[in-house]
Every structure is written in C-alpha cells, then in structure tokens.
Symmetry: C2
Amino acid sequence: MSRPVPVALLGLGGVGRAILSQLLSPPLASRFQLVLIANSRQSLSLPLPNSVPLTPSNYLPILEQHGAPLDVPSIVSVLSTHPDAPGIFIDSTGADTIPAMYPQILSMGVHIVTPNKKGFSGSSELYEAINASAYPNTTAVVLGESTVGAGLPILSTLKDLVATGDEIQRIEGVFSGTLSYIFNEFSKVEGGDVKFSDVVKVAKDKGYTEPDPRDDLSGTDVARKLTILSRLIPSTPLLPEGYASIPTQSLVPPVLADAQSKEEYLDRLTQGDQYFDDLRSEARKEGMVVRYVGVVDVEGGKVEAKLAKYPFDHPFATALKGSDNIISFHTKRYSPRPLIIQGAGAGADVTAMGCTSDLIKIHERLTTRRA
Amino acid sequence: MSRPVPVALLGLGGVGRAILSQLLSPPLASRFQLVLIANSRQSLSLPLPNSVPLTPSNYLPILEQHGAPLDVPSIVSVLSTHPDAPGIFIDSTGADTIPAMYPQILSMGVHIVTPNKKGFSGSSELYEAINASAYPNTTAVVLGESTVGAGLPILSTLKDLVATGDEIQRIEGVFSGTLSYIFNEFSKVEGGDVKFSDVVKVAKDKGYTEPDPRDDLSGTDVARKLTILSRLIPSTPLLPEGYASIPTQSLVPPVLADAQSKEEYLDRLTQGDQYFDDLRSEARKEGMVVRYVGVVDVEGGKVEAKLAKYPFDHPFATALKGSDNIISFHTKRYSPRPLIIQGAGAGADVTAMGCTSDLIKIHERLTTRRA
C-alpha cells in the first residue's frame, strides 16, 4: 500500500464537515493524511500535539481553542513541501477569494478538489488561467465533480462523452434541488391548485432554500452549473463573463421586483401568485407541466436557464420527485433517447461524496506507476 | 504532452471495430499508439511497414493478407517490453480463454481493458486471481466499465459509492437491452394485447437479440452483470460459481423447454403465449406492468434475475423506453429516492465508449506524476 496522500481541508460548513467525516472514516482514512483543517478565520495543523485523534465531534472546539489565524499561502506551502508532496487542497468554502488563487496553487504542483462553483463559472479569464495551470498542461490536477449535481456523476460522464469522441447535441435538466422541489409540488401531472407562495414557504421552512429564497429563485445557481457544463464542450459559446453571460429567467415575480428585503419579499409573495397560476393553467391546457430547467443547446449555440413546459409523459414530469436533479445528455451516440442521470443533487453527504470521489481519483492517479 | 500509451486490440467484432474506430479518431489518436490488432486467427503488428495508415475501412483486408497467426503470449510480451511500456491489452473477444489469462497478463505489468464479462462473472477463483494480480495489489490496472450497461457509468458509480463509504442497500434494474425492448413492447402502461411470440420475432428481426433468442431469454447475461455488481459490494454473497450461483428465471416457457434448436423454438414460440398472456393480465389487474429485472438485495443477502411487477407510475414502467437499461442504486445516502442511471445499455458504439473511457482513465493515471 502506498503512503497516504496529504490533504488540507478549507471550509467547515455543512459540506466541509461531511467531507471531514468521510475522510476520517474507514474506507478513506488509510488513503489520505489530513494535515490541516481551517474555517474562514482559523486553521489547525494535524496531527494534534497531544496525539488525541481528531473526530467529527471534537474538531470544532479544538480548532477554536488551538487554531492559528488563517494563512492560505502557508497552507499551500505545507502541501507542496510535505515529504509525501504534492498534497491535495480541498476548497470547501463558498468564497470568491480562494478560487482566484487556484492558478497559483496549481502552479506549485498542489492538486485541488472543490465543490465551490466560483472558479469554474466566473470570468473566462480566471477559468483559462486555472486550466493553463492544470493537467494536462501541468502535473497538478483540479477536479470539481460536485459543482454540478453534487455526488451524481454528471461532469465525469460529460468528460467521458467528449473525450471518447461523442458529439454533444443538447444537455437539458433540472439542476436545482430547490427549484425541483418547488415545481414538483406546484405543477403536478395529477393537477392541484396549491399557491406558489405556499410552496416556497414550505420549501423555506423545510430548509430546502437558501436563507433568502430569492438566491434560488434568481436562477443564478443554475446559470453557474450551465457555465461549468458548457465550458467542457468544444464549440459552445465562450461565455466571457461566465454565468453572467447566460440568459437567466428570474422567478422573482415582476410585481415583487421592488421588494427591499427577504422579509418584505416573503410577506408580499402572494402578490406573485396570479403570475404563476396563469403559467400553470396555460401549460395544463396543453397537457404540460411547468419546470425550471437549464439547457445547453450545442447545435443552436444557446445556453439558457428558464421556465419551460413538458408533456405529462416526459421524464421531467413523471420521473422527477422531491428535490431530485435530472440531467439528460442528447448526443450522437445517445440518440434518439438520451443518457439520463437522476437523484439527489444537493445535501451535505452527497456533495461531500462528489469531493471524496475526486480525492480517490487523484489518489489512484498518484499511486499508479508506469513501471 | 506525454508519449502515447501502447495499446493492442484483440477481437474485431462489432465492438472491437468500434473501439478501433474511436482509437484512430482525433480525441484519442494522440494519446494512444495502436501496436497490434488481432482477430481469433490472425494478428497484425503496427505501424504497417509500407507506412500506409490504418483506417476503419482498410484494416480487414490488410489483416487477412499480412496477418501472422495469433499468439497471445507474444502480444503481451510486446506490451510489456515496449519502450513506452507497460501498454494496455484490450480484450474485445467474447472468449473464455483470454480472461483465464488475465492474472498472467497483469502480473507482467500490462494493463487490461475489456467489455468481456467472462473473467469477472465466472468462478470466484478466477475473479480473486485477477484481483490479486491487479491494482492496488500490483501496478497493473484492470477495468471493465462496459461489462455492465455498456457506456453508462454504472460500475464507476458503484465503485465511487462504495469507496467513499456509502452503504449499498439495493441495486435494481433492467440490465438487458433485449429484454427491456421485449417487455416495454409486451407490457405497456396503456395496455395492448400483442403476443409475446410476435414481440420476440420482431426483436430478432431488428437484430436486437442474439442469433438464438434463447441466449437472451435464459437470463444468463443478466446474471453475469449481477455477479459483476455484487462482487464490488462488501458483504454480498460470495457467488463461488459466479453467475451460475445466482437464481435466474428463464423466459423459455416451460412448454418449450424441450425445443431442440432455435428454429424449432421460434416455430413453436406461440405455444408459450398463453403463459405470458396470463402473467400480463394478472399484473394488469393489480395496476402493474411486467419487467425482467436483476436485483442485488444487500440487506436481504439475495441476488436474483427474475420477472417482476411494477406499478404504472414506477420509473421502470413510465421512464423506460426502447431497449434502454435503467439501474437504480438505493443507498444510505441516496434514500428514500435512489440514484438512477438510464440510457442505451447495448450497441457497438456505446460499448466501445465504455472501453475507451477506461483507456483514458488509465492514460490519466499513467501521465499524472507525483512530482
């Protein structure tokens, strides 16, 4: 068995905590050596001096008591100079600032795994700088499987299709767990007259939405995922400003565009109900349901996030349940019927799994020798 | 860019031809160097002496005219002693004899990629010998993504789930393109009274079945796939005889069990229609359709291939179309709703893609360096 690969984990929110927990558990614990954990303020070098083992339940008080102020360049330096270097830098923050450092981190030979969408869905300048500093242009690998569909094998499948010479014609899917839940409840094949505002409130109460539901309803998160997918396909539009270059339909109803706070927005949400009621009944007359989808139309040269109608027997109407994602790849090989992947596309455990499966892929790449 | 990895391709049937075609085309051609192709009788070393480039349209006459008698050990020796060794041995045969040599091939450091199910679904003795000779126990990698679901990411997803510490509870799916087509046509949500024998004949005429349709209807192919899946899950039954250890329902109707030839079988197929008619109407009374499925029930410790009934709103009833495979993974993380993968699970191009994506994974592993 090879020596464990050194790993530093930055970001200890819900996903970071789940990554930590998977890293400390049996199947992964022997392959990786956690050399450092950090939140936005403090970092903790490992192993602990008193040889107490780190666990998912003790790390927080220990970090708070013994942590040093966060210093990202010195973390990268630890990973690049470790006896078993280069190590892997896990960016589990939601920050813009860390992805801006990816080119520099990679150019020190350190690998990166991240669920953070910012680096891959922002300006094409940053995206190209990241790629220029990464495999196959350098020895450092950067992977972000969980940036789209969490633990679902979406990006790896798209990469395989492209790399083996298939031609992507169209990718179409429900990419937001929150918007999946909202429209699966609001617009059902079997009918129903629940109010849009009531569904959003239930989704918020269940913790399915961001603290400010407008962050989900703006469609920005979907546009970021579409950017990441598009950029993996040769011949798609350049998207110089990343997600901001994608036409994105906002679900904040026009009548509420002037709401000043999330409180005011939620209070006044019923004012938007007529707008969504009309959409739903118009669709129903045509035998359709309403879904919020993302589309990468390679042949048409269009990428967009929008409300769309689907017939009652379409998988987006019948097969989609709860807050699942569903993504269909229409390609030259997968034609006329697409390749479809469906399942939970959000949640700490499955998002962490997307990251730890990336860690394993890097581990395998580092421990397979040519001779 | 690293030097191309040497590759030998054994087996030039439909899938082998498609692998050859993908290997000779742009995205892959620069990563791999094809050093030899062979069918069951002859092999041809490459590049050709007259420096004519090999193409998907000229290889067959050239092989027939200039091929040397097939000698597998010398092929392996070429791959292990090549200046860019070790190379990759692609077994695209359907033979039992080649998989029996995997342990020996791997122990010479040569990697293996294969769509051939025989090595992974036969005796546990051979399976364990293969594993003992492969990564992570040695430096040689063996991958067979396309042995289940062709180009669909079934095995890679299962491996990721297991390796990241998820607990598999149940895998359930329609694993045979042929049986998918037959039952999607025979037992529909919207009803219909087509005869089983007529559907089988159409499937045969369309080329969806093996030359002898009983090879599909026996369920053996499904049992082989279930064996391959089960063996990747810790705590599943041992299956000492591989697929032969799995309870497998045959669809050759009892009344036809004594048919001596495929001709006699097809002639007399209508004698079995009553049997299937009864199954269908019994299911229909309960609001169900009939499907031929494979189940790996980890919690119950059971693996079986059988006819089963599914409610009209189940994905196996509504989402399944044509000859698609659909596989659902019920796990601790993907619960209560499973992770579902669906799409063409057979066909030369997508099966070849499963192989060439394995080739790329090995290429990445060989060209990522620790420093």
